[in-house]
Each structure stands twice: as C-alpha cells, then as structure tokens.
C-alpha cells in the first residue's frame, strides 16, 4: 500500500507524479478513441451505402431504452465527477459513496443491455450470417445489426472493465487508502469511466434514433 503523501523518487514532486499518471491515462484514452473510431468509420460507410436498410433496421431498435441507458450513464458520470471533488476535499468516505453510485448505475446499464440483447436475439435480429429477422430483409439490414452488436458489445466490454475499476477505487477509498494529497486512482479511474460515457453519447443517436 502506498503512503498517502509519498511519491516515487524519479518524479521530484507529488504533482509531477500525478500529472504523469494523468498523461498516461489521456494517451491511453486517445488509443481507445481510435479503437472505437474504426467501428464509427465502418458505420458511417455502411450507413452511406445502405441508408434505407439502416433506417428500416434502426426503427426496430428500442429508442426509449437507448434514452434510458444514456440517462443512466450520464448520471453515473456525475457521481464520478462528485467523487473526484470529494476526494480532493479529503472527504474520502463521501467520495467512496459517490463511486458506489457510479458502480450501481454501471451494473444497471449492463443488466438493461443484456435484456435488450435477449429481446433482439429472440426476434432473430442477430449479427452477420445468423441474421433471421423477418420484418427487415433488404440488403444491408444485417450489416446494421452486426454493427449494433459490435459497437455496443465493445462498449459493454468497456463498461464491464469500468465497473471493475470503479469498484476497486471505491473499495480503496472506503478503506482509507487515499487522501486529499494522494488519490490518483480516483482521478484516473473516473477519467476512464467518463470516456466510456462519451462513447455511448455518440452511440445513442447513431444506433437508437436512426429509423424513428
């Protein structure tokens, strides 16, 4: 366990160490944007090529559920932002409670998403060659659902990792591992969570509001 005010010798000051940790996280988040970016570009290309099929298939995605999922994630981000402020103010117990709020909303997001997948799987709207959805059959419709599963699936993987990270940080905060002077895991852990929220903010209109 790290001393709450110590820093590694090579950094000179605790601020330098904190900023180095943040730079590492910003660069990692840049690579995450490029990872999702490949899928966003594929989506843009296929939507341009199969606009009508995308509108027809998109009209079967549950728009209000996408809206609810968005509200769940932005509220979870608000709790995460509160947790950072409370940690900086030295209120680590309150910070831990706020992180638990983020955690619970993240788990709710995953549960709702699994129910949504079950609904679409039940009607045969499956990716690629497994596509059996009788209501939308024109060419390109299966591509929409393939991208829907790829983009939301990769995002869900990130939410799952994020739930683990937030849970670990919340546990650390509740055990008194951090202080007002040193709480870098709270800062960089919540940064990752916010990026996952931002990616969803773009997935929502692209996947849930195409065919309304």
């Amino acid at each position: 366990m790290a001393e709450t005010t110590s820093h590694q010798e090579q950094f000179g000051t605790p601020e330098a160490q904190r900023e180095a940790a943040q730079l590492g996280m910003w660069i990692f988040l840049g690579t995450e944007i490029l990872l999702f970016g490949g899928l966003f570009v594929a989506y843009a290309e296929y939507r341009m090529l199969f606009g009508r099929a995308f509108r027809a298939a998109g009209s079967h995605v549950i728009a209000w559920l996408g809206m609810v999922l968005t509200l769940v994630l932005i509220t979870s981000s608000w709790f995460a932002a509160r947790a950072v402020r409370l940690a900086r103010q030295g209120q680590l117990s309150a910070s831990a409670r706020s992180l638990v709020g983020t955690l619970l909303l993240g788990v709710s997001f995953l549960v709702l998403h699994v129910l949504e997948y079950a609904h679409h799987a039940g009607e045969g709207a499956l990716p690629g060659a497994w596509y059996r959805f009788a209501e939308v059959t024109q060419p390109g419709a299966s591509l929409f659902f393939t991208l829907y599963y790829l983009m939301t699936g990769l995002h869900m993987l990130h939410v799952t990792v994020g739930v683990g990270v937030i849970g670990w940080v919340a546990w650390g905060a509740s055990r008194g591992r951090y202080s007002a002077a040193w709480h870098t895991p709270v800062e960089v852990g919540t940064m990752y969570w916010h990026l996952v929220d931002i990616i969803w903010i773009f997935l929502f209109p692209l996947l849930y509001l195409v065919g309304q």
Binding site: A16, I33, R85, Y131, P205
Partner: protein, 134 residues
C-alpha cells in the same frame, strides 16, 4: 505545470454547483435528442443529433474529466486522437462518396429480400444498378 494547482485540489474541475448544472444540461440534451428524432428534420436529422452529441461529449470531457485544468500534452492527447479519427472518417467518406454509381449499392433501394433468401437472379437479366452510359 498547471498554474493554480492548489486551487484545483480543493475543488473538482467544475465545483459542486457546476457539476449539478452540467448533469441537468446533459439530461435535457438527452431528452432533446430523443424528442427530435420524432420531429423528422429531414436531412438535418443526423447533423443536429451529432451536434448535440458533440456538445454533451464536450461537457463531460471538459468539466467531468477535467480537460479544462490540463496543460500541454495532457490537454492535447485526446483532441489529437479525435483529429486523426476525423481525418480517417473524412478520407473514407470521400472515397465512398466519389465512386462511380455502379460501384456502390443504391442507398435508397432496393427493398428486396436478403441475399441468402433471394431467388437467384436470372443470367442475362439487367443488373440492379445503372451503369454509366458510354
């Protein structure tokens, strides 16, 4: 090195009141995006929805993630990644948008059934997409 470090560390990147206000704005914009999807804005549908998404994403990045208090490379890393992504997106769509008509499927049709279920097209029947006149 960020100048007002001591000030940063006693408050969040935004402060309690601003955090609440941003959450309210994010919620309102989410409801607006959802509502506007049923208004049928025509060609403006996608640009408006994406503009709202950019506004929401920027609020989260600047105030919740704390981009506003970052300096130097910490401020530049993510905007640079976004610039690279926009370059990739732009070049890809430039390719798709400037192909000969016969290369791309017609975006507004056909409403035929999926290829694996479609009846085999007769040999010699006209192609579904117009070829450029010689």
């Amino acid at each position: 090195m960020s100048a007002p470090l001591s000030a940063q560390l006693t408050r969040g990147p935004a402060g309690a009141g601003a955090e609440l206000l941003i959450w309210i704005v994010l919620t309102a914009l989410t409801l607006a995006t959802w509502g506007l999807a049923y208004v049928h804005l025509g060609v403006l549908q996608l640009p408006v929805a994406l503009a709202i998404a950019v506004a929401k994403g920027s609020l989260v990045a600047i105030y919740f993630m704390g981009l506003i208090e970052q300096r130097g490379t910490r401020r530049l890393a993510v905007p640079l990644a976004i610039a690279m992504l926009l370059l990739l997106l732009g070049l890809t769509l430039f390719d798709v948008g400037t192909r000969f008509a016969s290369v791309n499927p017609d975006p507004d049709g056909p409403s035929s059934i999926a290829p694996e279920r479609a009846p085999r097209r007769d040999v010699g029947a006209p192609l579904p997409h117009r070829l450029p006149e010689p």
